[in-house]
Structures are given as structure tokens and as C-alpha cells.
């Protein structure tokens, strides 16, 4: 199959941010996303679904530009106060225009 290279942006962090992060990625131009519940631990201690809720993992397949823009927003407005991390990985999709 003919595939197109795109970027998978993965954001992991406090579940409370769900709606806010969805708004962010949609405003930045993502055409879809997938959310999974998870738990985890990082520099801001172990978080396992207590009163403030579990962590969540938000994944979206986007163009490298959108991914870069979102990384910028995350690092400026979210990393300082919230328990959030983000990383990019390369993926290949078919029907590439669906995602950009």
C-alpha cells in the first residue's frame, strides 16, 4: 500500500486537562484524536487515580507542523504547572489527507 509519513503526537498527563487539551489540539488543526486512561509516575510523583482522577494519554496523528505548534503551546503553558509530558513519533498512514 502507498503510505504517507506523518507524526504521532502523544500527550500524557492529568486527566483533568482532557477538555482543555482537546480544545488545544483542535484549534491547532488536528482532525481527530484518541484518548486512553492510564496511570503513571514522573517528576511530579506517582499519580494513580485519586481524587483528582487518573492520567490520560491523548494521541493524535498530525502533520509535523501541527505537532510542532502543539509542542510549543504545551511547553509554554502546560509544562510549568501541570503534570504533563509529550513526545513525537514517526508513523505511516494511508489516506494521508484525512489527517491534515
Amino acid at each position: 500500500m502507498h503510505t504517507v509519513p506523518l507524526t504521532l503526537l502523544t500527550i500524557i498527563g492529568e486527566g483533568l486537562l482532557r477538555e482543555r487539551l482537546i480544545t488545544e489540539i483542535e484549534r491547532a488543526g488536528a482532525k481527530g484524536y484518541t484518548i486512553t486512561e492510564c496511570s503513571g509516575s514522573g517528576s511530579r510523583h506517582r499519580r494513580v487515580g485519586e481524587l483528582l482522577g487518573e492520567n490520560m494519554k491523548l494521541e493524535c496523528v498530525v502533520s509535523p507542523e501541527v505537532a510542532d505548534k502543539l509542542l510549543g503551546i504545551l511547553s509554554e503553558e502546560y509544562f510549568p504547572h501541570f503534570a504533563v509530558i509529550a513526545y513525537l513519533s514517526p508513523v505511516s498512514v494511508i489516506r494521508g489527507d484525512k489527517y491534515v
Partner: protein
């Protein structure tokens, strides 16, 4: 007083809480499924609302008026006193002070229920309209404290983004208000009250075995989970410091006494004044935490969660409620 304390300590509610606490202390793997916790809290709030609604249909507006006024008053006073004490005496940052104050300005539904059960067991049932007061006290305190925080930090003036668009976080106050008013606990309580009011005794009859017969047992299970949650926070007590420990036990006594006084003054019975005192004394750990986290992200969650859940909640359940009751009884005797 000692006898009252003993009765309170040997109630299924207190024992279940202690069991949960103990399980965490010995690092047991015991935990209730999150969905059970959510289901129980939905059940308890709805049952509370329904019962309150059915009883509300017997109450007159006149009876309710003054208690409602003093409840709203408590919703304005308690976040302010808490903020001042934390900021001036405790020397906490503005954000931390406002964040913790939001919790103490609001109310813990389980503390309310525990107080209600307690006075009922002792033969001094509270007024039937108390759940209505609970709904009145839930949100004002949060808004007052968050408002103080916002004004003090002038945080609202944050810069627009490079591309001119406003940051997502800068939500108009209307949105925050909407969130708190349509929160799960609000809908269940207020909705339950309305449904109970409309259906009346007769409509309530067939669902009574479920919503009333099971209530105390479900509450016992819920307090097991509360004990587990509080126990998980015990370790944080070290990092939060002695001041917060003292605050978490003295503030409730002050707020609780104020609540009892105002309740007595507004014409509530001994049971009613006790429950109002417990409400004022309690700190929210359901409605307040997410609101504070989203609006004041600089505030340290460990501080407010530990204070509300691991200090003030157990204090009220075990010692506070009997104290407020004693006070209410003294006042009633002296009037």
C-alpha cells in the same frame, strides 16, 4: 461527652473509616474499584436529595428562610477567615492560601451525612430541609476563594499568544460558574430534591427500600473507601508541615462553632444546629479540588488535598461532630 464520643466511635461509619485507614497504614493492597466509589457517591447524593425533597414538601418557606440566610453567610465568611489565617499566620503563597480556602469554604457531603446520622442515632433528628442547605453551601465558598485568588494575583491579565489567539485557559467567570453549578454532585442533590418534592411520600414509597433501607450500609462501604483515600495521604503530612496540621483541626472548630451559633440563632433544633456546624466545619474534597486545580494551577494540590481529606475529614468524623453536638445542646439548654 465521653459517652457521646464512644457511641460515635463504635458506629459502623467510624469503624469502616478506621479500617480503611488501617489498611493503608499496613500497606495492604485493598482498594475499592473506582467505579464502585463513583456509584456509591452517586447513590448517596441522589438518596440524600430524594429524601430531602420528600421532606421539603412538608416544610414551610418561613421555616427555611433564616437558616438559608445564615448558610449563605457561612459560605461567604468561612473562605475569608480561612484565607486570612493561611496567608497572614501561615505565610502560604496567595495561590496556596486561596486554594485551601476554597476547600474550607465549601462543604463535604459525607461529613454532612455522618452528622445527620449521628444526631438521629442520639434522638435529635435534624430538620428535613437540611439537604437544601447543603446545596446552598456547596458552591459560594469556592467562588469567593477563587475570586480572592484571582484578584490578588491579577492572573486574569495573562498575555495572548504569538498568533493573537487567547490561551485556552483564560475562561470567562461564567464558564467556571457553569461548571460548579452543573457539577455531578449539584445535579444529583438539587435534582434529587426536586424529584423528591414532586413525587412526595406516595411516589417515594416503592423506592424507599432501595434509597433509604440501604443508605447506612452503603455509607459504611463508602467510608471504608474514604479511609483508604485518607490513609494514602497520611504520608504527605510530613511534607505539609505542622501549621497545616493545626489549621486542619482548629479551623473546623472555629467554623463549626460559628455554624452552630448561627444555626441556633436562626431557629434550628439541636440536631439541625449540629449538622449546620458540621457543614461549616467541613472541607470539600469533591467539588473544590478540580475547580482549584484548573483555575489556580500554581496552588500545590498536596496541600489542599491533604488538609481536607487526611486532617479535617477524620477530625470532624471522629471528634468534631460530637463537639458541635455538645455545643448545640449547651446553647439550647441556655436559651
Amino acid at each position: 461527652m465521653l459517652e457521646v464520643l464512644r457511641i460515635n466511635l463504635c458506629s459502623p461509619i467510624s469503624l469502616a473509616f478506621v479500617l480503611g485507614l488501617f489498611a493503608r497504614i499496613i500497606r495492604s493492597e485493598l482498594s475499592l474499584p473506582r467505579e464502585l466509589y463513583a456509584s456509591l457517591s452517586i447513590y448517596l447524593l441522589l438518596a440524600l436529595g430524594l429524601k430531602g425533597g420528600v421532606e421539603l414538601s412538608h416544610a414551610s418557606m418561613a421555616e427555611l428562610a433564616w437558616p438559608a440566610v445564615v448558610t449563605l453567610l457561612l459560605g461567604v465568611i468561612t473562605p475569608c477567615t480561612a484565607y486570612l489565617v493561611l496567608r497572614r499566620i501561615g505565610r502560604f503563597s496567595i495561590a496556596d492560601s486561596a486554594g485551601i480556602a476554597a476547600h474550607y469554604g465549601s462543604v463535604s457531603a459525607v461529613t454532612f451525612i455522618a452528622a445527620q446520622q449521628f444526631v438521629q442515632t442520639l434522638g435529635f433528628p435534624a430538620e428535613g430541609f437540611m439537604p437544601t442547605l447543603l446545596t446552598l453551601l456547596e458552591s459560594p465558598g469556592i467562588h469567593v476563594a477563587l475570586g480572592i485568588g484571582a484578584v490578588q494575583t491579577a492572573r486574569m491579565a495573562s498575555q495572548p499568544r504569538a498568533d493573537g489567539s487567547p490561551p485556552v485557559e483564560r475562561r470567562p467567570l461564567k464558564e467556571v460558574l457553569h461548571e460548579v453549578l452543573t457539577a455531578r454532585s449539584m445535579i444529583l442533590l438539587v435534582g434529587g430534591l426536586a424529584c423528591g418534592f414532586v413525587m412526595g411520600e406516595k411516589g417515594y414509597e416503592p423506592v424507599k427500600p432501595f434509597f433509604e433501607g440501604m443508605f447506612k450500609g452503603a455509607l459504611t462501604l463508602f467510608l471504608l473507601e474514604m479511609g483508604l483515600a485518607a490513609g494514602a495521604r497520611l504520608g504527605d503530612l510530613k511534607s505539609t508541615g505542622l501549621f497545616l496540621l493545626a489549621f486542619g483541626m482548629i479551623m473546623p472548630i472555629l467554623h463549626g462553632s460559628l455554624g452552630v451559633f448561627l444555626g441556633h440563632w436562626a431557629g434550628l433544633s439541636i440536631g439541625g444546629a449540629t449538622v449546620l456546624g458540621a457543614m461549616a466545619a467541613s472541607a470539600s474534597y469533591i467539588a473544590a479540588p478540580p475547580a482549584v486545580r484548573m483555575t489556580l494551577p500554581e496552588a500545590n494540590p498536596t496541600l489542599y488535598l491533604t488538609a481536607a481529606l487526611a486532617i479535617t475529614f477524620p477530625f470532624n468524623i471522629v471528634l468534631g461532630i460530637p463537639i458541635y453536638f455538645q455545643l448545640a445542646r449547651m446553647l439550647a439548654g441556655g436559651s
